[in-house]
């Protein structure tokens, strides 16, 4: 009796699935299953201890239309934070990358210096900036030299988001590194050709640099939006369990609902609404990318 042997292609396919299975299992266990479970939980009143009871859309209704729901406040705060911080970081990191791309002395030292802050643990960053942004701290001291009376950045509900934005800008090193890599991949002959044609630095920037960096801008934009909208640690540490209405953000709101108040169903509803919003925003950005993102490979 002869054993039936697997064909080469089948063996190759099995090997493929064997090697990729840990990743697939991880995706299913840590992503797909929680997604489905939280979706189901969002239609229940589960409080961790008692069996969940199906309540339909009540969590969503309470979240979006409830009189004392903090969802809209958290959304406004999160949107303010993200839509100021992300563009600011993009502009600043690109500007810094362009400066670091120049042949200056101690260039490597400067590159390290600009990247290092993004590697510091977030708790240490918060402690440091709490001191810098104190009402009588260094930042306000410098502002006072120019006749500006700085606010209590991390205390006043009206200014705490701005304080968080300042804190967030400090960690733009990751974006700088990506832009720097992109700048160094731009062929020099393109600039030389434009210079021969008499194009000035601004023209060269808008006609060559920006278009060729646009894929990296797109990546930084999407990853920045996702990261900024998920801000948690800074808010939680600064305002002691996110009790300051000026900096109540969506993720701390979700965390409090789940783990302080044991409203798992309600927290799941927050998670799904938040998830759909981020998905929608990402899709809008990707759709718009057709107009302004230039892929060199497609052009060829």
């Amino acid at each position: 009796m002869t054993r039936r042997r697997l064909s080469a292609s089948r063996r190759e396919a099995l090997a493929f699935y064997a090697f990729v299975s840990p990743w697939i299992v991880g995706i299913i266990v840590f992503l797909a299953v929680p997604l489905v479970v939280t979706l189901l939980l969002s239609f229940t009143n589960w409080d961790l201890f008692q069996s969940p009871q199906w309540i339909g859309l009540r969590n969503y209704s309470e979240l979006l239309f409830g009189k004392s729901s903090d969802f809209w406040l958290a959304l406004r705060n999160t949107a303010y934070y993200a839509f100021i911080l992300v563009p600011l970081n993009l502009v600043l990191s690109l500007g810094i990358a362009m400066l670091l791309n120049q042949p200056i002395i101690l260039r490597r030292w400067f590159r390290t210096a600009f990247y290092l802050p993004s590697t510091i643990p977030i708790i240490a960053v918060v402690m440091l900036w709490s001191w810098l942004l104190a009402p009588d701290g260094i930042i306000n001291e410098v502002l006072s030299w120019f006749g500006i009376h700085g606010p209590a950045w991390l205390v006043d509900p009206g200014s705490v988001k701005n304080g968080l934005i300042i804190m967030g800008v400090w960690g733009l090193g990751g974006g700088v590194v990506l832009f720097l890599a992109g700048l160094q991949n731009i062929p020099r002959f393109l600039y030389e050709a434009m210079m021969i044609d008499g194009a000035g630095p601004f023209r060269r920037f808008f006609s060559i640099t920006l278009p060729l960096l646009s894929p990296i801008i797109l990546f930084n934009l999407i990853s920045g939006i996702i990261s900024a909208t998920q801000v948690f640690t800074q808010v939680y540490v600064i305002s002691e369990n996110a009790q300051n209405p000026g900096d109540l953000m969506l993720v701390p709101y979700l965390y409090n609902s789940a783990f302080q108040y044991q409203q798992m169903g309600f927290a799941s509803a927050i998670a799904w609404v938040f998830f759909m919003m981020v998905i929608a925003l990402t899709l809008i950005i990707l759709r718009s990318a057709r107009r302004w993102v230039y892929y060199e490979s497609k052009a060829r």
Partner: protein, 427 residues
């Protein structure tokens, strides 16, 4: 079909978990877990107290597990929901999920156990402490550590200012007057604060209670922050910052550094008076502060100005050995069991019989006599099951008021509305 399977997973995970707590073997050995949140001294003291029982009952072992204080509520909830519930749970009198857990059937009703054991809690403990661990007339925990909010004053500052030291029953107006005289401003900067207040809930509740105000109505169905008594109490309290300028504002605290609060200012000799718990006594003695303790100043027409801030011990409903767990608690909270709290300088014991011994451990120059005279002023407000969420919502809504940017009326009204929403089952 997938959704149904997932729902089944979800529902089974929502149950009490697979193993419950407490372990034993066929030879009659019982192992219990006690969960608490505090310092290493706290953990050590709990273990020593539990060992008093296990020495007399060699078949029983008790392990004390220390949870991080900041997230203890969350960690405890997760343990219970995950089927890893401890047998004995330390619950707090303030900002604790004890009542919530009991209402959801996660803590045992100890009323029948107490009756069977012939315990008379009102004789063993201060009645103001006992009621803090009862819900709708049923006892879910036994008082364990008897701390309550007291008032600290810096004797050296009072003496330098030529002011008489505070005594039991001193009034609010006397307090404000003293605070004004004790505040020192040099070069436009306050170098010594007459007092230091903030929005720390036990202190706020102690003050408002002494003005005859309550946070919720007696039925626990509606918040009462928008009553004239409560608004008056809040105003009197906040005026210390914004009218009399005798206490640091939130901005002033921020200038001192992250997480610097009234306790730190008192220990550094920057303020003359603060509300705090008895846990500050060892620290202030260590920092060589010449201080005294007294009951806080009394507002107008109030009763009870020292809110209970201690702990109790409860039995998990998932424990396999509830009677043994109760017996351990009974031993730990007896006068003998609580003597360890005194010997280790941990806290004030809840057992009344041990208070004289605790008073003798106070640092030289610190007398218990004023507090002893005011022991009837200890109170525990009755909180609803949604205590944690309600207090968070109230603190958030009063932030602008304590920042001095909003009047008490609108702030109290919003806090009442939002708290009512929480109490009615909305979010």
């Amino acid at each position: 079909m997938l959704a149904g399977a997932v729902a089944a997973i979800c529902l089974s995970a929502a149950g009490c978990g697979s193993s419950g707590s407490g372990s034993g073997s066929g030879s009659g050995k019982i192992h219990l877990t006690l969960v608490m949140a505090g310092s290493t001294i706290d953990q050590q003291t709990y273990q020593e107290r539990a060992d008093l029982y296990t020495k007399a009952h060699p078949n029983v072992t008790v392990t004390v597990k220390n949870l991080p204080v900041a997230n203890s509520n969350q960690e405890l909830s997760t343990m219970i929901a995950g089927g890893d519930s401890p047998d004995i749970v330390e619950v707090g009198a303030v900002d604790s999920i004890g009542e919530s857990l009991f209402a959801k059937g996660q803590l045992l009703n100890l009323t029948s156990y107490i009756k069977s054991a012939g315990m008379d809690l009102s004789k063993t403990f201060n009645p103001g402490l006992v009621s803090g661990y009862a819900y709708k007339g049923q006892q879910y925990a036994i008082p364990d550590r008897g701390g309550y909010i007291i008032f600290y004053y810096n004797k050296t500052m009072f003496q330098k200012a030529g002011l008489p030291l505070p005594t039991d029953g001193w009034t609010w107006s006397q307090y404000v007057s003293d605070a004004q005289k004790l505040t020192i401003v040099q070069g436009g900067k306050t170098v010594q604060w007459g007092t230091a207040i903030d929005n720390w809930e036990p202190a706020v509740d102690s003050v408002t209670h002494s003005f005859g105000a309550t946070l919720v109505n007696s039925a626990l169905t509606s918040a009462t922050l928008d009553t004239p008594q409560y608004e008056n109490a809040l105003t009197q309290y906040n005026d210390l910052v914004w009218k009399y300028h005798v206490s640091p504002s939130p901005q002033d605290y921020a200038n001192y550094g992250q997480n610097v609060n009234r306790d730190a200012l008192f220990a550094e000799g920057k303020t003359a008076m603060i509300w705090a718990g008895p846990w500050d006594i060892p620290t202030d003695a260590q920092d060589h502060i010449n201080f005294g303790i007294v009951d806080p100043p009394t507002g107008i027409g109030g009763d009870g100005n020292m809110m209970a801030a201690g702990t109790g011990l409860a039995v998990s409903a998932q424990s396999h050995y509830p009677q043994t767990a109760f017996d351990v608690i009974q031993a730990m909270t007896s006068p003998t069991g609580e003597m360890k709290i005194v010997q280790n300088h941990e806290d004030i014991p809840a057992a009344v019989a041990d208070i004289p011994a605790w008073a003798k451990t106070l640092p030289a120059g610190v007398s218990y006599s004023q507090l002893e005279a005011a022991s009837n002023m200890i109170f525990t407000p009755e909180f609803p099951v949604q205590q944690v969420q309600m207090l968070t919502v109230i603190q958030t809504d009063l932030t602008n008021f304590f920042d001095g940017t909003q009047a008490v009326g609108p702030a109290a009204e919003k806090a009442t509305t939002d708290a009512d929403q929480v109490l009615s089952g909305g979010s």
